[in-house]
Assembly symmetry: C2
Homo-oligomer: 231 residues x 2
């Protein structure tokens, strides 16, 4: 996990020679365009127009449209790993599994607040077809969550923190499903079914999150009370 050399793409030298300020301005314009329009519909004409630079310049920075996209997506994965990796690296011993879940979840909310365009970009990637190197791209994020929660859940199961009759894959599935849907509802109000996250303030959002985590933990039904105690 140390070799960061397996990049998706590298901008041209010309781009790397640019002043940091200009580089950031270009990156921002690109991510905004891809976030708003998705990959296919995004227009580099539009990007250069808003940036006030010539079309040819952009092609001196990147080989083609695909390269611009892979560049901003690479930045996205870095931002994600920076925000999710940190709060969980502190203490992720198996006995506080749910604390970790809560922290990752909260980090997701924070990420959306801080980088809404990047999250939008990610959603577009998830559900648009013909994205360049799609499988590779998605697996970089999805499998990150899977590889992250998987071992954690396995350890929690081992130490009796999870019901033994529920397979680890199902545990990860349910947490991921609830978290993803929650964050999607948070970021895109029209996907909200009744939680009304868009209208809620920070404290209310975290409160709803906690309610859901509790419901994941304890279940929402009453008629299946055969909770076997593990270890």
């Amino acid at each position: 996990m140390k070799n960061e050399k397996n990049k998706l793409t590298t901008p041209k030298q010309t781009f790397r020679n640019l002043a940091a300020e200009k580089r950031l301005r270009i990156e921002k314009a690109l991510v905004e365009e891809f976030a708003r329009e998705g990959y296919r519909r995004a227009s580099l004409n539009n990007v250069v127009k808003r940036l006030g630079i010539a079309k040819g310049s952009l092609y001196q920075y990147f080989d083609n449209k695909e390269a611009t996209f892979l560049f901003v997506f690479e930045r996205f994965t870095r931002l994600v790993k920076g925000m999710v990796g940190k709060p969980t690296a502190v203490d992720c011993r198996p006995d506080n599994f749910w604390l970790t879940v809560r922290r990752v979840w909260a980090a997701g909310i924070l990420f959306i607040d801080k980088y809404p365009a990047y999250y939008q970009l990610y959603l577009n990637v998830l559900f648009e077809q013909d994205i360049p190197r799609r499988e590779e791209i998605i697996s970089r994020v999805r499998l990150f969550s899977m590889e992250f929660f998987g071992p954690l859940a396995a350890a929690a199961l081992e130490s009796g923190g999870l019901r033994p009759e529920v397979p680890v894959a199902v545990v990860v599935f349910m947490i991921d499903a609830a978290m993803d849907r929650f964050l999607q509802s948070y970021a895109r109000s029209y996907l909200d079914d009744g939680l009304e996250l868009a209208a809620a303030d920070r404290a209310m959002v975290e409160d709803k999150m906690d309610t859901i985590i509790e419901a994941l933990k304890n279940g929402i039904g009453t008629d299946g009370k055969n909770t076997k105690m593990g270890a």
Copy 2:
């Protein structure tokens, strides 16, 4: 709920005069195109080319691209309500809440098997921007599920089938989140995190579904055993 007159759109008379066989051929070509490409990128040029008819003909059947899309989406909602409405209308008394959940869920799986292109179309609608009359369209399906499960869950809560400290909105949220993610994983293997639904046969898929429903009911944790009994 009886007046079916509030249609999204109506094709032109010319289309309605067509032989049923040709109508179906056109509908099939349209839904396939929208499923594969989403709304914006879908090409009517492509559709007429594959159908072997002239561009002008299509515009004698529909006013514009938007009308073709709304037409196929309308068919989708009808198909959905036909498949989900039926198995649940049989007996949806509050005491078999989980049975209803299971039936709707299974109907979803069946729908994907039977009309994969229509489901794909739906996913595209969910996550693409600038879809014509988007909010109206999404609410027709999303709220269908919400308005359907909401009262059902409220009744189940009333009769003691659900834990009283979990709000109805959270119950609906969790079931919807798990079900949606499950169906998405089933339909699009690249969204599958570890359930491996694409490689599973019918019995295995239903088995995994049941495991998840059980986990929703009873929870996946062991440390929160304060299950109050309601009524």
